[in-house]
Structure formats: structure tokens, C-alpha cells
Amino acid sequence: MASADKLINTDVPEKDVFALHFLRSLSNLRTQNPLNSPDKSIDRVRKIKKAAYVSMARAAGGNSRLWSRALLRRAAKDDNKSVRFSRRKRKVTWKISSKRRRSNQRAPVVEEAAERLRNLVPGGGGMETSKLMEETAHYIKCLSMQVKVMQCLVDGLSQK
């Protein structure tokens, strides 16, 4: 996928990568619970959803994107066994706090929408608005890829 802007790079890997990661995580799920009783379908749904997000984060770039890092970190916090997450050195983040102090002067129209966006996009809490938009663009691309992959999978499996 070509990025729309030369300065802002929002390249996303191909569909195969996403498919691969997702299927891997699904098969991991199978081996974890080989004789999963089907009554607890809600748990299974939740696990599948989480596997979908994690695999998407991995496929999209592992640690190179803020949202994927936040996603993986969130997943690793909940369930330490299935998700491997390597921490990297924490960069200096005090700049963000100093910018936040002046946040009242930002355009309030944009900021309230950006606030909602921050709640949606993982890892959006610590980002400035322009960075947030970049992450959102990449996140949207990855999400749509993941949706396509899952849709194809579902179609393929239920065609019998």
C-alpha cells in the first residue's frame, strides 16, 4: 500500500502477513485448549478477539508503532503467558507533560475530538495531536486489513 504522504509514512504490510499472524494465533489458541467445551462461548469470543488484535499489532509492526506497542503491552499485562512483549528502553517522555500544560491554548474543537480519538486508539493517551493523527491513520489501515482477513477466513470456513 502506498503511503499518501511522503513525509508521513503509513505503510502497512500485505494481507498475507496479517493472515499469517492471525492464523498462527488461532492455532495457538487451539493448542492451548484442545478440548474446549463449547458452552463458554463468550470466553472464546473474547480470546479470539484478543488474538485478533494481538496478531494485528504484530503484523503491523511489532514495536515500531506506538499503538501496536500499547496494544501488546496491554495484552501482555492481562495474560502473561500467551503474549510475548519485550520492553524497550523508555524514552524521555517529560516533553509531553510540558506540552499538556499549554493544552488549553489548543484549538478546543480539535482537542475534544482528539480526546475521543485517544480513547479509541490504543496508546493514544500519551500522544500529541499530530502524532495521534498519524497513529490513527496507520491504525485504520491495519484494522481494515485485519477485517478483510477475518472476513475471508470466516467466508472460507463457512462455505462448506
Binding site: A107, A113, S130, V147
Partner: protein
């Protein structure tokens, strides 16, 4: 002067019956209405200029200066006298070119002028109503796209309004943005960004009356960064990029029953809840009972201001996340079949996966008959490997995704990898079309 050409008789047919309708639909003050009704027309031949309540010279000057994108205010008062002789020969038949830029400017002007008439230049509430007003005006303008009369009326009327309440603004500056700067002091960011996009001659530079200290400069640079990224996002989100398009044909796809798109022709649409991609259509949703309908409508969008765009983006993200959740639910429902298949795959291919190639992989699956095809087409697909991912062609024995899991599992891991690749191959090649499209 470049007004000699292209003046059709479009305005010749304006009868007085149009006048009350058009004038009432605008946001006019009472003062102006009195002016309009009481002043006698100077030129009996041109009904258009009768509408204008101006001598044709000034009206043409208006036109000229809006064309060359300078202030209408300055034009009317400053230069009206010079060009009097050649303009009388026109006989007062004018036809303003109707392009979207002019109409939008006119709408904006009418709104700004009404603001000033009300004496409310600053404050939150009038400015917050400005975008809605301008959007409403634009809607009204667009509802008569073929009628250049209304647009002409808009431009001229707003120009008249401008000159009436604020005669003091006839500085030498021909730049309209300085006039708007006074209003802009309290307008929100979205409005100024709009103006930046519309005016063709705006360069990024310190404006008159704006502080040039480092803070505001940085602030402006930051705003522009945000706007650039917003444009990028707009292209991603379907339906957002038709900001000022009039009557564009848009193909809209309704996506598996979760989101519905409602667009009616010529109405301003604010929220589009949908995912529209070409590929989704092609990959046959139909068998599962979700109907996919396609609407091609001629619609005119006005998505103004960054707030609406951001709302649209937020809706898109939410809809995508909801789709993921729905698909995971469906996958969970389909799951038992996967279990069965994977078990058989694991059982049958336990020893044969260390070869490091897919050539000899026996596909003893319960998968459909396309198993043979899958291998071949898989090879075809793999010939240009995706650059961002190392394909485990030769490295089946070791996990090659270096950025994640360690090699604790060893054999099991490679088994799973191969299994998943087989599964993926089979499933992905059930729809060979879109896979090849993706590549």
C-alpha cells in the same frame, strides 16, 4: 478588462418574482431589506442591476474584484469611478461565473456580514454558529446550482452588506483575508483552515495583526501539521474526501448489515457510517445471508471544518472495531471445524514439516478440493515475497519472525507455523481473486 467575453443573457431573465424568494432566504438584516425595496433601479434595461441596487459600474467592479480575488469592499468604493465609461456599454447584463469558490466565499461573507450587523464579532456562540450558518448557506446555494442568479445575488448582496456596516475598512489592502482577520480573531481554527484551503494566493506567512513571536508561529506550524495529517486521514476514511465536491457520483457499499449508509441527493451528510471498499464487494459476502447492496447516488457533500472530519474518523474507527468484534464472534461460532482440521493436520504432518519447503507437503486435510491448486498458486504468490516479512521458505525449522516469540517451543512452533501456513494457504486461496488483487 476581461468582462467582455462570456456574458450571456443568463441574468436577463430575472423577473421580479425571484426577488422576494431569494432575498428572504438569505440572512439579511432589516436595514438591507429596506435598502433593497426602496431604492429605485437605475438601469431599466438590466433587471439584474436593479436587484443589485447599484449602478452597473459598481456591480461590475464587484464582479471583477471577486474574480481576481481581492476585496469587494475596496473595489466598490475605491475604483468605481475609473471604469465607468466602458461598463455602461454592457447595458447592465451581467452574469457572474458560478464556481464553487465564489459561492462559498459569498456564503461566508453573508454570514460574516450578518455577524457584524448584529454587533457580535467576538464570542463563542456566534462563531460556533458560523460553520453551521455557512454550511446552511452553502446548502441553500447548492440547492440551486444551475441558477446562477441566486449566486449572483448572494455575492452582490453580501458585498453590499459589507460596505454598509463597515465603511471604515476600505484600506488600501486588497486582501480579503485582512478583512476577515478582524472576525477571525475569535473564530475557531477550522474556519481559518478553511480559508487557507480556499484562497489560492495565500502563502504561509505572518498575517497582519498577528503576533509573530515564536509561540504563535509554533502554534501555527503545529496547526498546519495537524491539518496535513487530517488530509491524510480524510483520504483514508471513505467519504470524507468529497469536501467541496458538487454532485459527485459516489459508489457506496453497505457492509454486512452492521452499518448503513444513508445519502440522499443534494443533502448535506455529516456522518457516514460505513466501510466502503471495492474489495469487499468482490469477495462475495452473499452466501452467509448478509446482503450487500450497492448504492450509486449523486450526492453533494459538505463536510466542513475539522470537527466534522474528526467525527467521521472516529466513527470509522469505531465501526472497524465493531466489525472485528462481530467477526470474532462469527469465528467463534465456526470454531469446532477448525479444531477438527487442525488436529488432523497436526497428526498427519508431524514429521514432514522439517523439509523446509512446501513442495512435498502432503495436504491430507478435510479442506476442499482446491488443495492441489493451493500449492501451485501459493508458489505463484510467493514469487514476489512481501518485503516487510521474511517468509519461512527455508526456515521452517526456526521461527523467523525475529521480533516476537522466542524459540522456546522449537518443534511445536515450526509445526504450528507450517500448519498455519497451510491453513492460510487453503483458506486464502478459496478466494483467489482478491488475494491476487491484494498483491
Amino acid at each position: 478588462m476581461d468582462l467582455t467575453g462570456g456574458f450571456g443573457a443568463r441574468s436577463g431573465g430575472i423577473g421580479p418574482c425571484r426577488e422576494p424568494i431569494g432575498l428572504e432566504s438569505l440572512h439579511l438584516g432589516d436595514e438591507f431589506r429596506q435598502l433593497v425595496t426602496t431604492l429605485p433601479p437605475e438601469n431599466a434595461g438590466g433587471s439584474f442591476t436593479a436587484l443589485l441596487e447599484l449602478p452597473p459600474t459598481q456591480a461590475v467592479e464587484l464582479l471583477h474584484f471577486t474574480d481576481s480575488s481581492s476585496s469587494q469592499v475596496a473595489a466598490v468604493t475605491g475604483i468605481g469611478g475609473e471604469n465607468a465609461p466602458p461598463l455602461h456599454s454592457f447595458g447592465g447584463t451581467l452574469a457572474f461565473p458560478s464556481n464553487s469558490v465564489l459561492m462559498e466565499r459569498a456564503a461566508r461573507f453573508s454570514v460574516i456580514a450578518t455577524e457584524q450587523q448584529n454587533g457580535n464579532v467576538s464570542g463563542e456562540t456566534p462563531t460556533s454558529s458560523v460553520p453551521s450558518n455557512s454550511s446552511a448557506n452553502l446548502d441553500r446555494v447548492k440547492t440551486e446550482p444551475a441558477e446562477t442568479d441566486s449566486s449572483q445575488r448572494l455575492i452582490s448582496d453580501s458585498a453590499i452588506e459589507n460596505q454598509i456596516p463597515c465603511p471604515s475598512q476600505n484600506n488600501r489592502n486588497g486582501k480579503r483575508k485582512d478583512f476577515e482577520k478582524k472576525v477571525k480573531s475569535s473564530t475557531k481554527k477550522n474556519k481559518s483552515s478553511e480559508e487557507n484551503e480556499k484562497l489560492p494566493y495565500v502563502h504561509v506567512r505572518a498575517r497582519r495583526g498577528q503576533a509573530t513571536d515564536s509561540h504563535s508561529l509554533a502554534e501555527r506550524a503545529r496547526r498546519e501539521k495537524i491539518n496535513a495529517r487530517m488530509k491524510l486521514l480524510q483520504e483514508l476514511v471513505p467519504g470524507c474526501d468529497k469536501g467541496t465536491d458538487f454532485g459527485g457520483k459516489i459508489k457506496i457499499k453497505v457492509c454486512f448489515g452492521v452499518h448503513l449508509l444513508m445519502i440522499s441527493g443534494k443533502k448535506a451528510v455529516n456522518f457516514l457510517w460505513k466501510v466502503s471498499c471495492e474489495d469487499l464487494i468482490d469477495c462475495s459476502f452473499n452466501p452467509l445471508g448478509f446482503r450487500l447492496t450497492r448504492h450509486s447516488l449523486a450526492a453533494s457533500f459538505t463536510i466542513q471544518g475539522t470537527a466534522l472530519v474528526l467525527d467521521e474518523i472516529i466513527n470509522h474507527v469505531q465501526s472497524l472495531q465493531r466489525q472485528v468484534e462481530m467477526l470474532s464472534m462469527r469465528l467463534a461460532a465456526v470454531n469446532p471445524r477448525i479444531d477438527f482440521n487442525l488436529d488432523t493436520i497436526l497428526a498427519s504432518e508431524n514429521g514432514s514439516l522439517m523439509d523446509g519447503s512446501f513442495n512435498g507437503t502432503p495436504m491430507q486435510l478435510a479442506w476442499p478440493h482446491q488443495a492441489i491448486e493451493t500449492e501451485q498458486s501459493f508458489h505463484h504468490r510467493q514469487l514476489p515475497p512481501p518485503p516487510t516479512q521474511q517468509w519461512p521458505f527455508d526456515g521452517l525449522n526456526q521461527p523467523v519472525w525475529g521480533r516476537e516469540e522466542d524459540q522456546a517451543d522449537g518443534n511445536d512452533n515450526s509445526n504450528l507455523m507450517a500448519v498455519s501456513e497451510n491453513v492460510m494457504v487453503a483458506s486464502a486461496n478459496l478466494h483467489p481473486n482478491q488475494v491476487k488483487m491484494e498483491l
